[in-house]
């Protein structure tokens, strides 16, 4: 709840009105992030409790930096950081490109780490295709992404036998 907002309003209004106004104000201005913490970045429990979650999915956003880590690593959001929007759009492009090119093979979030002009893309891949095909996709992805973004891109993949291996729990 937006307590500070209430405190500002309090002296101006009568005590009786606050009760009616406060929730309306808060929902209209919508300035506070904690309001959506209830739903954002979380998965709904199913009736049969059969939705598989990876470790990353099982931990809600407030556990970032405690139990889990960021999916994009870069310095654009630091003070005087460069290319904020570009970085975000590029990251989204890389994620979609990865899941599309490695179709039905990516078992985890795609982690994107930027160091200098080097982008490292990490993911967990299912062993559903032969290693030869994987190497083809590896070369293709690295080359196309680095031509697109104009900087060296390296894939850092790990393979698992099946999606079951990355399931942390069912909800």
């Amino acid at each position: 709840m937006n307590i500070s907002m209430l405190k500002v309003i309090q002296p101006k209004l009568g005590a009786g009105q606050i009760i009616n106004l406060a929730p309306i104000l808060a929902s209209q201005i919508h300035t506070s992030t904690p309001l959506c913490r209830v739903v954002s970045g979380k998965y709904r429990i199913t009736k049969k409790r059969d939705r598989p979650l990876t470790y990353e999915m099982a931990n809600p956003p407030h556990f970032i930096a405690h139990r889990k880590s960021w999916n994009s690593w870069n310095t654009s959001s630091l003070k005087d950081g460069l290319r904020r929007s570009e970085t975000a759009v590029e990251d989204e492009f890389i994620r979609r490109f990865m899941t599309g090119t490695w179709h039905g093979l990516v078992c985890s979030e795609v982690i994107i780490k930027r160091q200098f002009n080097h982008i490292r893309v990490a993911a967990i891949i299912r062993r559903a295709v032969s290693p030869t095909k994987m190497y083809f996709l590896l070369g293709y992805t690295e080359e196309l992404l680095s031509n697109w973004i104009q900087c060296p891109v390296t894939l850092e993949l790990q393979t698992v036998d099946s999606f079951q291996d990355v399931v942390f729990k069912y909800i």
């Binding site: 870069n74 460069l82 290319r83 570009e86 002009n117 290693p131 030869t132 994987m134 104009q150 393979t159």
Partner: protein, 724 residues
């Protein structure tokens, strides 16, 4: 400012507003540089005793190279071009090759997409912020390697700029296309014509394999370059050369070198004569290339040597001083003319002459010397020691010639076949591992031959411990042994009595993809049997397991063959190898041991004629029969004896008597008397009966088959009962 600077490095961008800071930094650097420039010589120490060293100017990649130099090769990990994941690490030669080439194929596919859709790859979304957006490619600095490559076809509109681009990037086929589109010889300036001629002559109008595709170059099974005239006579290069008037010295140099490089020797020498008569100066490299193909002009060693000397004299007349290339092309010619004392003497004279003017032979010169002196069937000449003494003194080996990469493989071949000297081989390997020298190993093919020689000589001549150490380092990440080397290794392990490693060798065979090679597997089984006796119980069990696994592997291969999944027919293990498996697996005292299953399977295969030939050591089967009877596996005993009698081995008689005596728990004499009378036998247990039948079959020999067919058929049916 420094910390801000480092955050900026995180991107390849410079913001306009920060340019001021940059210029300030640059200014400071400059003032510091000028201060340094004015500094007094550092030998005289300053008043406070501190004398900072002179500034060393660094290139842009120097730090990276220094960092890279701190990381040595790691034999415990796969090569860095492979992905570090158990599923993606290759363990056999075939896989190494196919994985690396698949990755490159993917890269090629991406490059194709980029070139085909060049308009899509000129995006501006990713422009660095603060930088004025341009209609051009945006990376800062612009990186050529990421830019789409132009495609030239009949419809393209080309300018001279395109032509220059193709020339500078050595795109031979594109250059020819653009040349045609531009309108041929007349449309070009003399300067461009010259460059084009040089390009054509260097590559003989053939598109070279692009530098980009490293793996393809590495794995290209380059056939031995044939010494035949491949120069395109009357080709584009020739016509451009004739169109050039007046012909400059450069033009002559280019065309002569091209012809000489592609073995059009006679025309090259004619043109050289023509140029010299006209008084046109030629370069040293022209003479080098002429020298390397001088042998094609004359027949016979004496005439050839004379021709070589004339050329060198002509070179002196022209006032040209020879270089290292002259030495190696002299030696190349001499080594190509065969062997013999005279040529060897001439070669030594040449080397001495060049040394006297201060030219040390390079790696390719040494390579030709090795070719000349260390012939396969020639007398043993140890020039390698001297060569190594010289090379070890050098700071680093600088590659100068493409043939430089032949040195290490040839030298290791000499160590292994010619000199058979392990200490020299080790010195040579140490030299290869020093500094940057490993790039002189050549390509995948040469590398594998190099290691083949090294491991062979080590297996034959090195102390056992050292060989094991070497094998552990090199296999499988650096090198995967071929079948012939694997046999060498098995021999060495057998001689060293390393049972555990032999048992491991079987799993290595499977992983390396050699398990289908029957000869190798049979050799391994022999080795198993030979050192089985003196192993610990634990290792014995491992060997038994491996032997059983070999049998299982053969069966699986056959099943696959029946389902038509195999491309080549499966070879079957010989009867001797089967006997070896039986001998190994039967060495158990426990009746329920899995080994007996293997034994009975192997006996089944023997009896159903699924193994080639007959066993070399039938007495082994006799022993096994007795042992099986003792343990309480009469069916196996009967099968072994039955097989012996079927093959007509004499051992069958004694074996059946001995086995029966164990089975019936009577002495051998009693058994013999029992066997005399056939009527008694019907009371026996069926397995014992089978053994008795086998005894009679061998006793009566062939006559039994003819006269007493009923007995024979009976024995057959008995034996088939046993099989079930």
């Amino acid at each position: 400012m420094i910390s801000e600077h480092s955050t900026n490095i995180a991107f390849r961008t410079k913001r306009g507003e920060e340019k001021r800071q940059w210029s300030r930094l640059v200014h400071i650097c400059r003032t510091m540089a000028t201060l340094e420039g004015q500094k007094v010589p550092q030998s005289s120490s300053a008043s406070d005793g501190i004398s900072p060293p002179q500034r060393i100017h660094r290139g842009p990649t120097d730090i990276l190279q220094a960092l890279a130099a701190t990381v040595g090769p790691d034999p415990t990990a796969a090569h860095y071009k492979y992905h570090d994941d158990p599923y993606l690490i290759p363990l056999s030669n075939f896989r190494k090759r196919s994985y690396a080439l698949s990755a490159e194929a993917g890269r090629k596919a991406a490059a194709w997409v980029r070139d085909e859709h060049a308009d899509l790859f000129s995006m501006r979304e990713w422009d660095p912020p603060g930088k004025k957006k341009t209609p051009y490619l945006n990376a800062d600095p612009h990186i050529d390697a990421f830019a789409p490559k132009p495609i030239y076809n009949d419809e393209s509109k080309v300018t001279e700029e395109d032509f220059k681009y193709t020339l500078n990037n050595a795109l031979v086929e594109d250059a020819i296309k653009v040349f045609e589109l531009l309108g041929g010889v007349n449309a070009l300036s003399e300067e461009l014509k010259m460059e084009f001629l040089q390009l054509l002559c260097f590559y003989n109008e053939k598109e070279p394999l692009a530098m980009e595709w490293l793996e393809e170059r590495w794995f290209a099974a380059k056939t031995r370059d044939r010494h035949s005239a491949t120069w395109r006579l009357g080709g584009l290069a020739d016509s451009i050369f004739t169109s050039m008037e007046p012909k400059s010295s450069e033009a002559y140099c280019a065309i002569i070198q091209g012809m000489a490089k592609y073995y059009q020797a006679e025309r090259a020498h004619l043109l050289a004569q023509e140029a010299m008569e006209k008084g046109i100066p030629l370069s040293t490299s022209v003479f080098n290339s002429l020298i390397s193909c001088v042998g094609f002009l004359k027949e016979g060693t004496t005439l050839r040597i004379e021709a070589l000397k004339t050329l060198l004299a002509q070179m002196k007349e022209q006032g040209l001083s020879p270089d290292q290339g002259t030495l190696s092309s002299c030696l190349k010619s001499i080594s190509a003319w065969g062997g013999g004392n005279m040529l060897q003497q001439v070669a030594l004279q040449v080397v001495a002459e060049f040394k006297s003017i201060g030219l040390q032979p390079g790696l390719s010169a040494y390579y030709y010397l090795l070719c000349l002196f260390c012939k396969e069937r020639g007398p043993r000449v140890d020039i390698l020691t001297t060569i190594l003494n010289d090379l070890e003194k050098r700071e680093n080996l600088v590659p100068q010639d493409a043939t430089d990469t032949n040195f290490f493989i040839t030298a290791m071949g000499v160590c292994s076949d010619h000199l058979q000297d392990i200490s020299l081989a080790e010195r040579l390997h140490k030299l290869l591992m020093k500094g940057d020298n490993y790039r002189l190993v050549g390509d995948a093919y040469k590398e594998s031959i190099y290691y083949r020689h090294y491991i062979t000589v080590s297996c034959r001549h090195a102390p056992f411990e050292k060989t094991l150490e070497l094998l552990d380092t090199l296999i499988p990440n650096v090198y995967v042994p071929e079948p012939s080397v694997m046999e060498e290794i098995i021999k060495r392990l057998e001689a060293g009595g390393a049972g555990e490693r032999l048992a491991q060798a079987w799993s290595q065979l499977v992983v390396f993809g050699h398990a289908n090679r029957v000869r190798l597997v049979e050799r391994l089984l022999d080795a198993f049997c030979n050192c089985y006796q003196y192993q610990d119980d634990e290792i014995k069990a491992k060997i038994r397991l491996a032997a059983g696994d070999i049998l299982k592997f053969g069966q699986m291969a056959e099943e696959k063959e029946e389902k038509n999944e195999m491309r080549s027919p499966v070879q079957k293990l010989s009867a001797t190898a089967m006997t070896n498996i039986i001998e190994l697996c039967s060495d158990v005292t426990d009746k329920a041991d899995e080994g007996w299953e293997k034994v009975s399977q192997a006996l089944d295969r023997l009896r159903s004629q699924q193994a080639a030939g007959v066993p070399a050591r039938p007495q082994v089967l006799a022993q096994v029969a007795q042992r099986a009877a003792t343990v309480g596996r009469p069916t196996i005993a009967a099968a072994a004896v039955g097989y012996l009698s079927e093959c007509g081995f004499e051992e069958a008689t004694s074996a059946s008597v001995a086995t029966l005596s164990v089975m019936l728990n009577r002495s051998e004499e009693e058994v013999k008397t029992l066997l005399q009378d056939r009527s008694n036998l019907s009371a026996l247990h069926p397995t014992a009966l089978a053994v008795a039948e086998a005894y009679h079959e061998v006793k009566s020999g062939a006559s039994l088959h003819q006269s007493d067919s009923s007995t024979s058929s009976e024995s057959d049916s008995e034996s088939s009962d046993d099989d079930c």
